[in-house]
Subunit: 491 residues, 2 copies
């Protein structure tokens, strides 16, 4: 080995060792079959730690350049030949070498749990509470048919062409007007159209976070957000919820000690608990965020699906400095297929978010943006929301009634003031995933609690969507779940 | 300082030093005002290199925990107080501290160059060649109006509800049928619906690449791909193009020496050169990819916009092992506002790509997927393509004629067989960005060559879109550019 480690470099040392060895192998200075020094020896020679060398060797081995043979050492492998560049998978299918690392890649625990629940969501299964959307029968299909026809008739090609990454100005103006009514001080320039809240979370995460950073979430929270953060190598810190929302003392403590880079919160009809954060708690949260210099991403999809009593203003309405980035969408409260949502960001971060959007997928459908704009301008959305709220309120009452009738003592829930879901705690002795398996067999699905926590482990909760089902379906489905719970408890 | 460095850990040492110091500062073991040991001293104490300690100190300083004072050492700062958590920006506007790093963030050179070109794209400017899309007047607006109405009438809420991340099965079946006609051996299960090619590039990059990896691209290539790779901290290696496409010897050499993780190629009517890779070169490229175990991402958006002669099959048609991931979309050849494209991936990587799509933005519009499905099944797309090709072929001829008439000696271009764009080389003495500024002032835009190269630097090229303009507009616009070129040359 001829290379030595340059002392000053921004590249981590183990990578420089990888590159040095790779070069010597590729140019033939280290011939196939050569025995490499032990990691202890090389560490001493290069003046680095053994773990550094071990990391380098592991990377070279993963790349197929060297091989560790137990008891005899680490050896340079011959160059890959044609025939080794496909491998045969367990089912006899040939795959390229570079795909080997994806073979049988274990599906994440969260994905597995939700997957099991979602299998109960086929159109034939009429009693699935696992659904994350509202009732398709309530979507204003006829109105959108007319609006789309109008847009295509009057704007023709313009409605089918490209749009700017920030979004159609008319739509952004409508949204700014609507948001000012919610107490948020914005104008159209602060609004960025997104493909929905999941994309908004990605945009904010990729703009504000680096691998190794920490992010604070409510525990439980929306699994899609956990997927984004964990997928980026960001450490997720869950803050428990009390009756008013995120426990503020726990949050203050974490902000003080852990220096997180972002707080992700769903203050209104939280997913999955359905609860709404109190006004005081909202003020405290925004104040803490500002004092600690940690921005908040507020997810506010459910605001308009309140059953009756007024909802506290969004966090963004308490924000006087630009600490709150606000995300909402029309997928939950209007039409999932629109794939339209929006971000409000004030200050220099907005322009960076727009650039991220361009790099991610350019822009949202011009046609759907213009159609939504016309729908908002017509004012009909208020009648739609009014009708939807009335239906969902009835279904919520049906859910609470059914839970009281059919669930065994030891189960606990709280009525909610809006949204789609009830969050039910079951006795800790119930094996939730077994229960889910039994339930799916009887045609009833629910979302298991563990999917909503940062560290998946069994959690004695189930999330039940009451918005997508009729009242008799709710009654029947809850009866099935109640029967299964009792059976499990009697074992 | 009381912490010591554990020898065995997967966390890089500088980060462990950061965490150790952060903890001691936050719990008060290191009080505000304490002078930290010099990096040399601490490096000796902990048995690490000085650069490791310097990195750790830099990170803590960036976080506002410590401060290096020139000539006197590094000191622990007091906890941040309320009043320091907003800063005042140059325009007098208060912004939160966490937004400071976004203030005046320099816009990338590529973005700046294209931005300047795109400012010439407003609807009033009728002679912009900077456009990346086709002619909106040719989009089948009436047909889509009827189809959308049909879908919403017959499928109602179903067309407005959620869809799976992989996409509407009917659409995936139509696409698989179409792709089999192109010689690609796929079925519907191999197809993943995307929000367009830009999203496809993101999905593949996030699945296959890590920061520090290398990726091979054609030089020049599509700037959107460069944005994705560079944004991820991936090193981009550009391979020059000859008349047949990517220079294969240069590619072989790079594959041998640089161990890239991905090859990104646009073999058919390449963006920005408009050229098409020969059949032989395609076979060589796929063979090299397989032998070296380096996957290819093929971008094939322009295939159907051929002017006459048949186009060689896609790279994916030569791929017998699953080495080629194939991406195409309907944004270029049909309707940008659909925001629909697709990926073909065979083997275990596909499932990982689907999971990435879910985490990125859940799914594409159900309504638009079902509308596109009906349009494809109607077969009308072939008549649309036939008409579009005829129009663009005429415009291409107009472009070549105008270049011959108006461009000065020393400018060079090649006729293309399909697509949207001509790639024109101008004498190296021409300051392209100045020329662009002058051109935009006269109402003519073009895309400057430098935007298409991995390392932005002035490049004596301009990309001229001929697809979106009438023949007389092409003539007039090229005359303006020719005049400006001559004026610059005469200086």
């Amino acid at each position: 080995m001829v290379f030595s480690l340059q002392p000053e470099s921004a590249v981590p040392r183990y990578l420089r060792i990888v590159e040095g060895l790779r070069h010597e192998i590729s140019v033939g200075l280290l011939a196939a079959g050569t025995r490499l020094p032990s990691s202890r020896q090389l560490a001493r020679d290069l003046g680095v730690s053994r773990i550094t060398v071990a990391n380098a060797y592991a990377e070279l081995e993963a790349d197929g350049l060297i091989e560790a043979r137990v008891g005899s050492g680490t050896f340079v492998l011959p160059p890959r030949r044609l025939e080794v560049s496909t491998a045969t998978s367990s089912d006899g299918q040939e795959i390229p070498v570079w795909q080997e690392r994806f073979r049988g890649r274990p599906v994440g625990a969260r994905e597995r749990m939700l997957g099991q629940a979602l299998r109960s969501m086929g159109p034939k299964d009429t009693m699935s509470f696992a659904w994350g959307a509202g009732d398709m029968r309530l979507f204003p299909a006829d109105q959108f048919r007319r609006i789309l026809a109008d847009v295509l008739h009057s704007e023709r090609g313009l409605a089918l062409g490209p749009e700017s990454p920030q979004g159609f100005p008319g739509l952004r103006q409508s949204l700014a007007r609507y948001l000012r009514q919610q107490g948020i001080d914005v104008d159209a320039a602060d609004v960025l159209i997104t493909a929905g809240t999941q994309q908004a979370i990605n945009l904010v995460a990729r703009t504000l976070l680096q691998p190794g950073d920490r992010v604070v979430v409510e525990a439980p929270t929306w699994p899609g957000a956990l997927d984004v953060f964990e997928g980026m190598g960001v450490q997720v810190i869950g803050i428990p919820l009390d009756a008013e929302g995120m426990c503020i003392d726990a949050l203050a403590c974490v902000l003080e000690r852990e220096q997180p880079r972002l707080i992700f919160a769903i203050p209104t009809f939280q997913n999955p608990t359905g609860s709404a954060m109190s006004v005081t708690r909202r003020q405290e949260l925004v104040g803490l965020s500002h004092r600690h210099g940690v921005p908040i991403l507020e997810d506010d999809n459910m605001r308009e699906l309140r059953f009756g009593s007024p909802v506290p203003p969004p966090l963004a309405a308490f924000d006087r400095h630009g600490d709150v980035i606000y995300a909402a969408s029309f997928t939950k409260s209007l039409i999932p297929a629109l794939r339209l949502g929006y971000l409000i960001a004030r200050g220099p971060v907005r322009e960076v978010l727009v650039a991220q959007r361009r790099a991610l997928d350019m822009f949202s459908s011009t046609l759907l943006q213009r159609a939504l704009y016309r729908y908002l301008e017509s004012g009909d959305i208020h009648a739609h929301w009014k009708h939807t709220r009335r239906v969902y309120r009835r279904r919520h009452a049906a859910m609470i009634g059914a839970l009281q009738r059919h669930f065994p003592p030891g189960a606990a829930w709280r009525g909610v003031e809006g949204g789609f879901v009830s969050w039910v705690e079951v006795p800790a002795s119930i094996p939730i995933m077994d229960l889910l398996e039994d339930a799916v067999r009887e045609g009833v699905g629910f979302a298991p609690g563990a999917a909503f926590f940062p560290q998946p482990a069994e959690q004695p909760f189930m999330r039940l969507n009451f918005a997508a089902l009729n009242e008799w379906q709710i009654e029947e489905g809850v009866a099935v779940l109640g029967g299964l719970l009792r059976r499990h408890l009697s074992h």
